[in-house]
């Protein structure tokens, strides 16, 4: 493959390079004050990024964490592992619901595909459910409160998966709350 600059790739894909760099920058230092001035035209790129990351969560990350927890439940002879697995499957359902709602209403609304005169982004702004706190619970259970046994490596690997997910989810939430919602509000005012 021929080497290309980020600029070339962005042009090829029709993505504003400053927008791309602003989003990419979040992975290095997540902040919610940006030097880039988001435009309503950016919504298309932003939403497509968000949809892609939903796909990444539901098709890759969540199933692989499930799988690891399942494995731990099978090899570990302890009721707490079974409970942990159940805790996660309930959590996973909550996350799925969260993602589905955004894909059904918020994102289409952002792109003017959903034309419901009664729908206002305010609803979502005030009730954007927290899907991070249970993840933190799970992390703390793994770090501090589970039996010390021969499955420490397994648990450490699950922890690493959780940390990675948590970080991505944090950034995802910043994009939704500090970029997407304000942009949609701006558009509503027009």
């Amino acid at each position: 493959m021929q080497e290309k600059t980020i600029g070339e790739l962005c042009t090829e894909k029709g993505i504003d390079i400053d927008l791309f760099l602003t989003i990419a920058q979040l992975h290095i230092d997540s902040t919610d004050s940006f030097s880039y001035d988001f435009k309503i035209d950016d919504l298309k790129t932003i939403v497509s990024y968000l949809i892609k990351s939903h796909e990444y969560y539901s098709k890759e990350i969540l199933p692989s964490i499930s799988e690891s927890l399942n494995h731990l439940g099978t090899v570990g002879n302890d009721i707490t592992y079974t409970l942990l697995l159940n805790f996660f499957s309930v959590y996973k359902e909550e996350v799925d619901k969260h993602l589905k709602y955004e894909e059904m209403y918020v994102y289409p609304y952002a792109l003017d595909i959903l034309k419901d005169p009664n729908y206002k982004i305010k609803e979502y702004k005030n009730h954007h459910p927290d899907i991070e706190s249970k993840l933190i619970d799970l992390k703390n259970l793994l770090i501090k409160y589970l039996p010390k046994d021969e499955h420490q490596i397994l648990k450490r690997n699950i922890l690493i998966q959780l940390l990675r997910f948590e970080k991505d989810l944090n950034i995802h939430t910043i994009i939704e709350e500090a970029i997407l919602i304000p942009l949609i509000e701006k558009k509503e005012k027009q």
């Binding site: 707490t80 409970l83 501090k144 944090n170």
Partner: protein
């Protein structure tokens, strides 16, 4: 007269450290504030036992955990507050005795500082070793069994307000917010046994 409390701010940015001391001056108490650019510089400070409180910018330690650990060792009896200045360094919160955010309101910053100055380090250390008090354990059990605040209050003969306070402390000590995760904690620590009353968690 009570001695002035000595607060040390470890922060290379002049704007931030002057900002913090301006905020501290707004509270009634009279503090003596001194500045250090880095942890290394603070380590060479002679009168360590005279320091009542240290405020450190999390940015300084984010790349080097060992620095904060040695700092804790040299200041065993002094509380260390973290100034969390970027979203990512939220993961460092637990490295400190307490913390505030760069964009916190004056009131919250002052409260964090005042609370840290009055609370005894030794006592709060045992708190953070997550030993739940007997009462908190009672509340935890009730929560895990699916009781609401109101019925917990009735069952334990305490006010709803007290129940809520206990809940908050349980969350703070364990780092666990949801009841379902508390249930797992309770089972893993033999606080409750799995029986028919816990069917929903099985």
């Amino acid at each position: 007269m009570e001695e002035k409390k000595h607060i040390v701010i470890v922060e290379p940015s002049v704007i931030i450290r002057e900002g913090i001391s301006a905020i501290l001056r707004k509270s009634d108490s009279n503090y003596f504030v001194s500045y250090f650019d880095s942890i290394t510089q603070l380590q060479s400070f002679k009168k360590k036992d005279k320091v009542n409180l240290i405020i450190v910018n999390s940015n300084i330690i984010s790349s080097n955990f060992s620095e904060i650990n040695t700092l804790k060792e040299s200041f065993i009896n002094t509380k260390i507050i973290g100034l969390i200045s970027t979203y990512n360094s939220r993961i460092l919160e637990h490295k400190f005795d307490d913390y505030f955010y760069l964009n916190d309101k004056t009131k919250d910053i002052v409260n964090t500082v005042i609370n840290s100055l009055v609370e005894d380090k030794i006592i709060s250390n045992t708190i953070y070793k997550n030993n739940l008090s007997d009462r908190e354990t009672d509340v935890l059990k009730q929560l895990v069994l699916g009781n609401m605040n109101k019925s917990i209050a009735d069952n334990l003969n305490i006010s709803i307000h007290t129940v809520i306070t206990h809940r908050k402390n349980i969350t703070k000590k364990l780092g666990i917010k949801s009841t379902a995760a508390m249930a797992i904690y309770a089972v893993a620590n033999n606080i409750i046994e799995i029986d028919s009353s816990l069917d929903e968690f099985k």
